[in-house]
């Protein structure tokens, strides 16, 4: 469903992605882990066509989206939903308007039907009576939940998550992890999560891909990654586990 072939991307002469190859399995949760500032967000934005590669291919359902124009990209993006790092809610709109936004843009549902879907999606992410609140009135965890409700409003086939647990306390992290697992089970969509949170990764992932120096150095199940002898992976896992223990 999603495949990146020999993708290269540099910013101001600095190579961020270097001949990167990655295949993402459909209807599974794939977590891409790597160091902060290592190009994980850039990789995710390539998958959605928000950034175009300098060279290489980004295939979504067999179409190379890096070659599409704005109008064609808009069509392809309709199968995507994305939860941004800080949720990226529109701060001039209420929570209800945020979740209703993709429905208003891309469906012909009546206002009543949209309201019903909004309520249903918010319930799915564990939120009640927040429709009329502004994003600024919500906590970080609640904002992420609203962001997820908006991302799944159109029942997308692919949902991308940019560091969903960053900046949250351990309890909230756990509840977001559970939310991701349950939502994927319900929707059976392809979830791509980028994270540097090892605990969360091993909990939610069906497949893990490790990004290092612009390349995917290993993909496999959480068990395969855990038992890997690659020194980089070993070091990364032990460091992150240590950090998690300290918090």
């Amino acid at each position: 469903m999603i495949e990146l072939i020999k993708v290269c991307k540099s910013f101001k002469g600095q190579k961020v992605l270097d001949n990167l190859d990655l295949k993402i399995e459909p209807e599974k949760i794939t977590v891409i882990i790597g160091r902060s500032g290592g190009g994980k967000s850039v990789l995710l934005k390539h998958i959605m066509g928000l950034i175009k590669p300098d060279s290489g291919q980004v295939l979504v359902n067999g179409i190379d989206i890096s070659k599409l124009n704005d109008k064609e990209l808009n069509e392809v993006r309709k199968i995507f939903g994305m939860l941004f790092q800080d949720a990226a809610l529109f701060d001039s709109m209420t929570v209800g308007e945020n979740v209703a936004f993709p429905l208003k843009e891309h469906t012909k549902l009546s206002k009543k039907e949209i309201d019903k879907v909004v309520e249903e999606k918010l319930l799915k992410v564990g939120l009640k009576n927040v429709t009329h609140k502004m994003p600024s009135e919500l906590s970080g965890g609640m904002r992420k939940r609203v962001g997820l409700a908006r991302a799944i409003a159109l029942n997308p086939k692919i949902v991308l998550f940019d560091e969903p647990t960053t900046g949250l306390d351990p309890i909230m992290c756990e509840s977001i992890d559970d939310l991701i697992i349950n939502t994927q089970r319900h929707t059976n969509a392809t979830f791509v999560v980028i994270s540097h949170d090892i605990g969360s990764t091993f909990k939610i992932a069906h497949k893990v891909a490790v990004l290092y120096e612009g390349k995917i150095i290993k993909t496999g199940t959480p068990e395969e990654i855990r038992s890997s002898n690659n020194p980089v992976i070993k070091r990364f896992i032990s460091r992150e586990t240590e950090k998690a223990c300290q918090t």
């Binding site: 309709k78 941004f84 993709p102 891309h106 908006r150």
Partner: protein, 256 residues
């Protein structure tokens, strides 16, 4: 020597690149304007923001511009007994230059800066990426309505400014400086053509395009968090104001 050339040439290259990107944004906005959905609701909302909400500041600026212009021209004309020309001078000055330019500058300060700050904040908090991710083109959703609203509303605000400016001039000339009201009005009718007013309004529409295009461009190119938004807003106001003055000269030499 090469270093000196680089030092002198770099700002020129940056300016050319920046101009090119602004023109590309304009072309893109025009292209998206012709494609459905036509975003009429957002355009009307922006027209309210650009036009209705700027009325007060334009009224104040307009009336005092007309008043001070009448006062200054009275002192000048009095030296050779030409006080009767104060009305026509004020009306011509206001409709051709002061109305459109001062209105554009006030709207740049109030609206152009707000456009940059709003779009800049949306850019650094990934709200613009969120629009992309929901298959909504930000140029069509954010930029195009602002440009259309500014092009339509600047002439309307200029008409208001022209009217109160002449009224302010009338008040100072006739009520305070005791110029004969019949002569004051007659000279306006004699010297001011409809073309003067019309050309002033075309200028205003051009200024509306400039301030909204630069405001949006600086907004969607913002990087670097809150500091970046502040920087972009300042650059937007300065660049818009300077461009308005420069283009005013060329428009004037072309039109009148």
């Amino acid at each position: 020597m090469i270093r000196l050339l680089e030092f002198v040439g770099r700002p020129f290259i940056v300016a050319v690149e920046e101009s090119g990107r602004i023109i590309l944004l304009l072309i893109s906005a025009i292209t998206w304007m012709l494609r459905p959905p036509f975003r009429l609701r957002i355009i009307f909302k922006q027209m309210e923001f650009v036009g209705v909400n700027s009325i007060f500041v334009v009224l104040i600026t307009g009336v005092f511009t007309g008043m001070v212009f009448a006062l200054q021209s009275y002192y000048g004309f009095k030296m050779f007994g030409g006080e009767s020309l104060v009305g026509a001078t004020v009306a011509l000055g206001v409709t051709r230059e002061l109305g459109p330019v001062f209105t554009a500058l006030m709207v740049t300060g109030r609206v152009g800066s707000a456009m940059t700050a709003e779009l800049g904040t949306m850019k650094v908090t990934e709200q613009i990426d969120a629009l992309h991710s929901m298959s909504v083109n930000p140029i069509q959703y954010l930029v195009m309505p602002r440009i259309v609203a500014a092009i339509l509303m600047l002439p309307v605000l200029t008409i208001v400014s022209d009217f109160v400016g002449i009224l302010g001039g009338y008040f100072v000339g006739v009520e305070l400086l005791k110029i004969n009201s019949g002569i004051f009005v007659a000279k306006i009718v004699e010297f001011v053509d409809l073309e003067d007013i019309f050309n002033g309004l075309i200028k205003a529409a051009c200024f509306g395009l400039i301030l909204s295009l630069i405001g949006c461009y600086k907004g969607i190119r913002t990087t670097g968090g809150a500091e970046g938004v502040g920087k972009a807003t300042t650059q937007s106001v300065v660049l818009s104001s300077v461009t308005i003055f420069i283009s005013d000269y060329f428009l004037t030499s072309f039109m009148f």
